[in-house]
């Protein structure tokens, strides 16, 4: 095995060296391409882009959680038409490509006579898509609870809504916390698509600055690093939640068919 280790180290090192050498032969590491990142005005410009990214992500997360909760209630409803309607909506939004939804939303709002900046169309598109997936997560959480929970709630005289609000939903949310957090990470990544409808976020600003300084590649590298740092921190959080979950219930995290494995945009 030591031979394999040495060999793989050599091969990996060779790949890195070749790529670095080629990039540096093309002057991609020259100081003047990286110099803008030492200027306060450029950093501030990019930072405010990041603030806009986080702003739309926060709003969309709030909306998606509410929308997802509503859809989940609808899908668990005792009324058949409500169940059908919400199931249809969930399936529709899950199968509709997010980017098309993002292109579609400003036009739809315009048709309805509402002229908004690209902030709200982006937030609404993110809400519809991620909300429908969160709905599936919430539902799986409720269904995973022991049936005795609901029976016990009913036997002490709680009605449907009371048992949902005080007994079922809190446990479901707690159990699904890791899945919920990872879906919210996906949402954060998805906000980068806002750049394509000219929402003034990190990628858009990096794009503009890259054209200005002629260092698009370097700008995108910085954007990638920023996303990696943020998402890595958040996924650490998700993993911590999962470990705590496992310790508390002594069981594996509940898997939702087709949710964890979903590679968001």
């Amino acid at each position: 095995m030591t031979i394999a280790t040495a060999l793989s180290l050599v091969v990996l090192a060779a790949v890195v060296v070749v790529v670095v050498a080629r990039l540096s032969a093309k002057h991609q590491f020259d100081g003047d391409l990286w110099k803008p990142f030492t200027e306060y005005s450029v950093l501030k410009f990019l930072f405010l882009g990041l603030v806009n990214t986080l702003k739309v992500a926060a709003v969309a997360m709030g909306l998606a959680l509410m929308f997802g909760g509503t859809l989940a209630l609808g899908r668990l409803s005792l009324l058949r038409p409500v169940r059908w309607l919400t199931t249809g909506l969930i399936e529709l939004f899950r199968a509709y490509p997010l980017l098309l939804l993002i292109f579609f939303m400003p036009k739809l709002l315009k048709l309805a006579g509402i002229e908004l900046s690209s902030f709200w169309p982006l937030a609404i598109a993110l809400m519809l898509y991620n909300g429908s997936i969160l709905a599936e997560i919430f539902r799986a959480g409720v269904l995973s609870l022991d049936h005795g929970q609901e029976e016990a709630a009913q036997s002490i005289g709680l009605g449907y809504w009371q048992s949902m609000a005080f007994v079922l939903a809190p446990q479901a949310v707690r159990r699904m916390a890791p899945a919920i957090v990872s879906q919210l990470i996906t949402l954060l990544k998805d906000t980068a698509l806002g750049a394509l409808i000219f929402y003034d976020e990190l990628l858009r600003r990096a794009d503009g600055a890259g054209n200005e300084f002629g260092n698009n590649l370097q700008m995108y590298v910085i954007v990638a690093v920023v996303y990696i740092v943020i998402n890595f921190a958040l996924s650490r959080l998700a993993r911590r939640l999962e470990v705590r979950q496992r310790r508390r219930y002594g069981a594996d995290a509940i898997s939702v068919a087709g949710v964890e494995e979903l590679a968001g945009a």
């Binding site: 280790t5 990544k189 980068a192 990696i228 996924s235 494995e261």
Partner: protein, 214 residues
């Protein structure tokens, strides 16, 4: 609706591009994923670490940023690829990272005794993985791979951002030129929905066929 009928040729071409991109890059993602999963369970520490690093990188970069990076980065190392090839590479890497995790979870679900039995017969690491463990592992992850394909096929829409002329690109472009954006985007979205339902059905059949009866 007229926009679509008038430009039926364009949309048929675009549908072909979307389908080809989905299938080619999913095949690529499968290879990348299998390689990453094999590296992550291998007894060679540097390979394990490199695979973990790559997985984390590709999963945490937004796909559109990854595509932009490749689109601007590849020409810088003196290679010229069309946007389509760039998109195939980018999507293979992106979905490949998720695929690697999926396959790895399948590998972990195979009983340790299987690998031990194979080793005791004198098979090496590659043989244990290729002949004994992977065939069993893949059967358990047909359903997650199907879900991954749905997400992947939808994500191909993002290739429009580096001017791959797929369904999303044409829908957005023609919609803008003809002021019938809402109907165009809606109709094209329905095409994706139908495609995904079809793919979902296909994978459901595959899942039934490959299910391990115990």
């Amino acid at each position: 609706m007229r926009v679509i009928l008038d430009n039926l040729d364009t949309f048929t071409m675009a549908l072909g591009v979307t389908l080809l991109l989905s299938l080619l890059s999913f095949a690529g993602a499968f290879l990348v994923g299998a390689a990453l999963a094999a590296a992550r369970v291998s007894p060679v520490p540097p390979l394990r670490q490199a695979a973990t690093l790559l997985t984390e990188l590709f999963r945490n970069i937004p796909l559109v940023v990854l595509l932009f990076l490749l689109y601007f980065g590849i020409p810088k190392i003196d290679i010229r690829f069309s946007p389509f090839i760039t998109a195939v590479i980018g999507m293979s890497l992106y979905t490949g990272a998720y695929m690697g995790e999926t396959i790895r979870s399948g590998i972990n679900s195979v009983a340790v005794g299987q690998a031990e039995a194979a080793r005791s017969l004198g098979l090496g690491f590659g043989q244990v993985l290729g002949i004994v463990v992977l065939p069993q592992a893949l059967r358990t992850v047909v359903q997650p791979i199907g879900n991954l394909f749905s997400a992947h096929a939808k994500n191909t829409a993002i290739a429009a951002s580096i001017s791959v002329k797929d369904l999303t690109y044409q829908a957005n472009k023609l919609g803008q030129e003809n002021a019938e954006a809402v109907t165009t985007l809606l109709a094209v979205g329905m095409v994706y929905v139908v495609l995904l339902l079809g793919a979902g059905y296909g994978f459901a059949v595959l899942e039934r066929r490959t299910a391990i009866r115990r």
